[in-house]
């Protein structure tokens, strides 16, 4: 074979003979096969999750910096958070992850009512989480712990005094706070701060608390909206008696929901538990 002929064989662009078709309206026009579409969705969702990890990662980093810098002030502020509500919410979210996993399983099996049922449970758990958050936030507003112009560290100081972790001393006619621990009835000071500094730093803690849990709560809300839409879709699939429906939306929402859960799994110890 001459070099020209060889070249012709290797160098010509050809078309496939295949004509692509739409698999029951599930397959997007841009895809060739359902498998291609499903893996594309999965990679896309994982890329989005990586993005979310960096999104929360940056604020976790900032939080870590100040937790290290103002450890005593932050510890006292930690004590104002309600561990029972936080624990309850942790379990609520963990259960919602379980029901979400069951919903994904049901979707894969094309059992539409079962899917709708588990999605509804997930939705309700998310609702319980948000209601708990509402009461938790409300309590913070009431105690002037929301970090706006009405913020006051008064209650933190009172509670810390009662526990023997803070002492008020007068230095050159100025009030100062000594932060420390009472060991066998004797107060051991570790650090001395002015009331203004103490207020600023505990306010910083509550700033982080509200930004981090607020962003997380926003993610929960978005998840609830998507889940509500999916419930509607599952019910329509059921009424239309659809034998096969696209399970990928539920699968992807499931991935998202587990991410929301995992973020909380980090938030809970970082905000509520450490320092106790």
């Amino acid at each position: 074979m001459s070099i020209q002929e060889l070249g012709k064989q290797s160098a010509t662009l050809e078309y496939t003979g295949e004509v692509h078709h739409h698999a029951d309206g599930i397959l997007g026009e841009q895809f060739e096969t359902l498998e291609q579409q499903n893996t594309a969705y999965l990679i896309g969702m994982w890329a989005f999750i990586v993005q979310e990890v960096l999104f929360f990662g940056a604020i976790f980093t900032a939080y870590a910096v100040y937790r290290f810098k103002y450890v005593l002030e932050f510890t006292l502020a930690h004590h104002e958070l309600s561990v029972p509500i936080g624990t309850l919410n942790t379990f609520v979210l963990l259960f919602s992850s379980y029901t979400m996993a069951r919903a994904v399983r049901a979707a894969m099996q094309n059992r539409h009512t079962k899917q709708a049922f588990y999605l509804l449970l997930t939705f309700l758990f998310a609702g319980v989480f948000m209601v708990n958050k509402y009461f938790e936030y409300g309590a913070k507003f009431e105690h002037h712990l929301f970090p706006n112009a009405y913020y006051s560290a008064h209650e933190i100081v009172e509670h810390a005094k009662a526990k023997g972790e803070l002492r008020v001393v007068v230095e050159d006619g100025r009030e100062m706070y000594e932060l420390g621990k009472t060991i066998r009835g004797e107060f051991k000071p570790f650090k001395k701060v002015s009331p203004e500094e103490f207020e600023q730093r505990t306010k910083l803690f509550f700033g982080f608390y509200f930004v981090m849990t607020g962003l997380h709560g926003l993610h929960v809300l978005v998840g609830m909206i998507v889940i509500a839409i999916l419930i509607g879709r599952a019910l329509i699939d059921h009424m239309k008696n659809k034998p096969i429906a696209d399970y990928m939306p539920v699968e992807m929402t499931g991935l998202y929901w587990h991410l929301v859960d995992i973020v909380w799994i980090f938030l809970f110890p970082l905000l509520y538990l450490i320092g106790r």
């Binding site: 070099i3 020209q4 070249g7 012709k8 290797s10 160098a11 010509t12 662009l13 050809e14 078309y15 496939t16 003979g17 295949e18 004509v19 692509h20 997007g28 026009e29 841009q30 895809f31 060739e32 291609q36 893996t39 594309a40 990679i43 896309g44 890329a47 989005f48 990586v50 993005q51 979310e52 960096l54 999104f55 929360f56 990662g57 940056a58 604020i59 980093t61 900032a62 910096v65 100040y66 810098k69 103002y70 970090p147 706006n148 112009a149 500094e197 600023q200 730093r201 306010k203 910083l204 700033g207 930004v211």
Partner: protein, 557 residues
Amino acid sequence: MATTTYTGGQKQNYLNWKTTLASWLFTLDHKRIAILYLVSISIFFLLGGLAAGVVRAELATPKGDLLTSDVYNKMFSAHGIIMIFLFLIPSIPAVFGNFLLPLMIGARDVAFPRLNLLSWYVFMAGAACILIAILRGGIDTGWTFYTPYSSSFAKGEVSLAIVGIFLTGFSSIFTGINFLVTIHKMRAPGMTWFRLPLFVWAMYATSLIQVLGTPVVAITLLLVAVERTFRIGIFDPSLGGDPILFQHLFWFYSHPAVYIMILPAMGVISEVISAFSKRRVFGYHFVAFSSLAIAIIGFLVWGHHMYTSGQSMYAGIVFSFLTWIVAIPSAIKTFNWMATIWKGRVHWDTPMLYALGFMGLFVIGGLTGLHLAALATNVHLTDTYFVVAHFHYVMVGGAIMGYLAALHFWWPKMTGRMYPEGWGKLAALLVFVGFNLTFFPQFLLGYMGMPRRYHSYPEEWAVLNLLSTAGSTVLGLGYLLPVIYLTWSLKYGTVVTERNPWGARGLEWELVDTPPDPHNFERTPIVTRPAYDYNHPEEPTGFVPKPRPVVVGGKDG
């Protein structure tokens, strides 16, 4: 998809198959979304250019006579914010990435067309926030939003601008996710990773940065807005915060963001250089991996913006070393481009002129970056016009030259019209001369110690500043010309109907109509040869074969 015959005399293409406004605003076609981006960012480019013109006009004379210092601050901030967030970041990825990626890899569309359209709407919403913030009194923080100035002292709609940047950031993330998945999953049969055009490799590296970097700056700027609104001491030292933390978080994105701007331009240059030298890109694998290397190392160098701002000296040494390493993949690219041109049949068309301009200016921009990366010289040059000149050589001399090269190269494919070649060459020349005249004197000014961001300066720097302002006029004219003749060519340019007016390689030239069909390819192509297959004995002149019809039976079958 069955090809319906368009009956208007002209062949059906993505431009004429539907013409209502709604068909544009709700389109899911990646090519139309690219055009939406093209129109919007062109407007933003002109706005940002106008602000730059005002800044240079003020600096023409040593006295601050044209603007008050306040207005001057707002002008350079508007220039920076518009140019970076509304033009450079979306420029090549959102316009040419969108238009070309599916065509280059043999796909009907990107993986997520609706996400693609959403990204444009989110971008426009963000742009609206930024422009409203600028119109309602302006922002004077500079594009860097350094704290505590931005969080505690700056007046004006800083928070609104931050919301705008947050939104454009998410638009950029959406584009990045879309491209990553598209490159992974949408390649035609036979289009292996090492048959991908280098533009696709560059877009892959860019998308990685968009997905990994942008969320960090989004949350950081959000924290600035929170600090402004609630007076929480996150970054303001007088409230117990740490301004250095802001700089760390900000530059963790904003240094890689420079590579979001330059990597796609490098991809364009690889395409243009090989098409106009009629040669395969020399060292294909090295050029491909150098894009990834730049993206990865680019994430480890942010501290070189902070040598003098209180960062640990030892951290500075490490960052300095890592910054020098970035020069290696950049040099690999440059030398490989030169080797591609060497012994090639070079055609001096407008895109090639821009590409050659890119190479020269990028080398100057990159090497002066090394002056700044070295600890000792950095102390002398920090926050002087040397820095301004350096990053304009990279961003304007690099990224915008690449953008203009791409615009001229793919213009006939996008519009079906040829731009006027003579005017194109004149504009390329004006841009090159004007650019150097504008920014080279700034290297000298910076070396002499002229600080950036001041609206007046001592008499002895008058001559060089006047030169720079004169150059900016030439540069402005050079940018205005393409706006005029490209718009003109839409109606009066030579009609291009052949698929491959440049005799270039790549699926978008060889298998896609000019302008492309709404569904890109008649059928999904099978790729049987590497990218840039110019050295083929069959077509020594760069002639492109017609796709061979599939014959069943007979002597071919």
